[in-house]
Each structure stands twice: as C-alpha cells, then as structure tokens.
Symmetry: C2
Subunit: 122 residues, 2 copies
DNA sequence: TTTATATTTGAACACTTGTTCATGTGTTCA
DNA sequence: TGAACACATGAACAAGTGTTCAAATATAAA
C-alpha cells in the first residue's frame, strides 16, 4: 500500500534518463487515484483466506456458515473477511431469513481468478 | 496472507449447513498450495508503488532510473520493489552495460491489469 | 587503477493487517 | 416473549510490510 510514513526525500539519484520514454509513459500513466484503487483491489485479493472464499464462491453462491465449514475457519474470521470483500466490491450478498448468501460481484472477478491461476500454473 | 499466529480454534459455530453445496465445492476447491500461490501473486499486485511500476512497464520496457523518475521515488525503493516483482514472476529484466531494463513477465500480467482497471472503473 | 554511475542489498522502524475473543444485532419459531 | 441461531462488529495483539539510510556490487570510461 505504498507507505508514506516519513518526510519526503531525494527522489532519484541517477542521471541517464531516456527522456523520450519517460515523457511518453508519463503522458499515458493512469492517475494516482486509479493506481490506488487498483492496488486496493488487488490487495484484497492478496490473502489466502480471501482467495479461498472467492474460489469457493466462484463455484456456487453460499451462506457464511457453509464457507466457515469449507475453509475450516471461525465464523467471525469469515465474516470479517466477507465484509472486506463486500466493501471492495468483490462480493455481493443477499439476506434470506436468518441466512445471508454471498456470491462474486461480477464476471471480472471470475476472469481475474482464472487468469491468475493460469499464470501461476505455468 | 492468512496469518496463523495462534493455536487452532473452534472452526465453525453454526449448525445449518447445506451439505450438498459443501460437498460439491469441497470436491472442486483448488489445493491449499494453489490458494497460497494465488494469494502471493495478488499480494504483490496489491501495492500502489508496484502497480505503478507495472502500469509504467505495460507501456514500455525501461530501466530502473526511468522508473524512479516517473514514479518520483528513490532509486533504492524502486529496486526493492522490482526485486519482489521479479521473484513473483511479474517482471523480467535484462542487463545492457550499466543499465538493467525491466519489462512485464508475460501477457497475463497485462490482461489482469486491464481487467482490474475495467472493474474499478464501473 | 581510479572515478563515476546504475543497481542491489541489509538493517531498522513506523505502520498495517488478520485472527481471536467477547459482545451486539437481526431473524425465526415455539 | 424468549430462546436459538446466523451473522456483524470492536478491541487487542502478534506477525508482516514498505520505505529509508548506509553501504556494497557491477559496469564503463578515463
């Protein structure tokens, strides 16, 4: 999450810069805000508990109780992670009586999980 | 990264379990090893400095010095992050004299960045 | 060799994170 | 209502992370 815990400092200590490349890339870089959102999005994916939850949900919608059985975790731990996943718009939920059912937010999540799995399998 | 800093505990404290769903999902879950690799992969993507480096490299191959100018960071900080990115196989490098040029590891990285950007833009 | 420059590395520390425990909220059913 | 259950939340703590500073390594040119 790119910490900012110290006063700013010397930014660069080298001299040979490819000005054409730097200018072109600077022009086409996503905004700082976009980079932060992207990082936040992937940060939420970057935990094996949460990726386990998402892998389970990519198979079938289910309630928190089922998830805590499948992942062999306490209900509280699952719930905390589900809240993060919902806040980050990776997961949606709907209530049906006592139970709350969770599912992936949309197809992008499915796609990213699949591409990631393919990449690490190479 | 799913901490494991305490002795194991009561896993689940609910009773109404959808046994058909649980059985089916348990059968089709990725291995624990795959989940760890996936989480590690996304964890590396989950930092705005690194996502900035990747966004820059998705535009053009370049050296560490160019990166530290574009991202306005110390050369040391960039180097530390590049090492992580290389270890996680998100980035490759080649030396040419004094300089080292970095580029994305393959098309999957490009694709995941693009899908992620689309998702957060919705 | 000596000098200059690009990159790498190690240690330290403030900040962040995930789980646990305890408790609170919302819903159903007797 | 009251009990039972599914889920949510807050505080606390151990473990993990990213940047900095200082120093080392690698290459090229004088």
């Amino acid at each position: 999450m790119a910490k900012k815990n110290r006063p700013p400092l010397a930014a660069c200590d080298c001299r040979t810069i490819h000005q054409d490349i730097v200018a072109k890339v600077e022009r086409e870089m996503p905004s700082a805000e976009t980079l932060l959102s992207l990082a936040e999005f992937f940060r939420v994916l970057g935990d094996s508990t949460r990726v386990g939850i998402l892998a389970a949900l990519s198979n079938s919608e289910m309630c928190g109780c089922d998830l805590s059985v499948i992942l062999n975790m306490s209900q509280s731990a699952v719930s905390h992670q589900l809240r993060l996943l919902k806040q980050a718009r990776l997961v949606r939920s709907r209530r049906d009586g006592k139970m709350v059912y969770f599912r992936l937010d949309d197809e992008h999540i499915h796609e990213i999980l699949k591409t990631g799995t393919t990449h690490i399998a190479e």
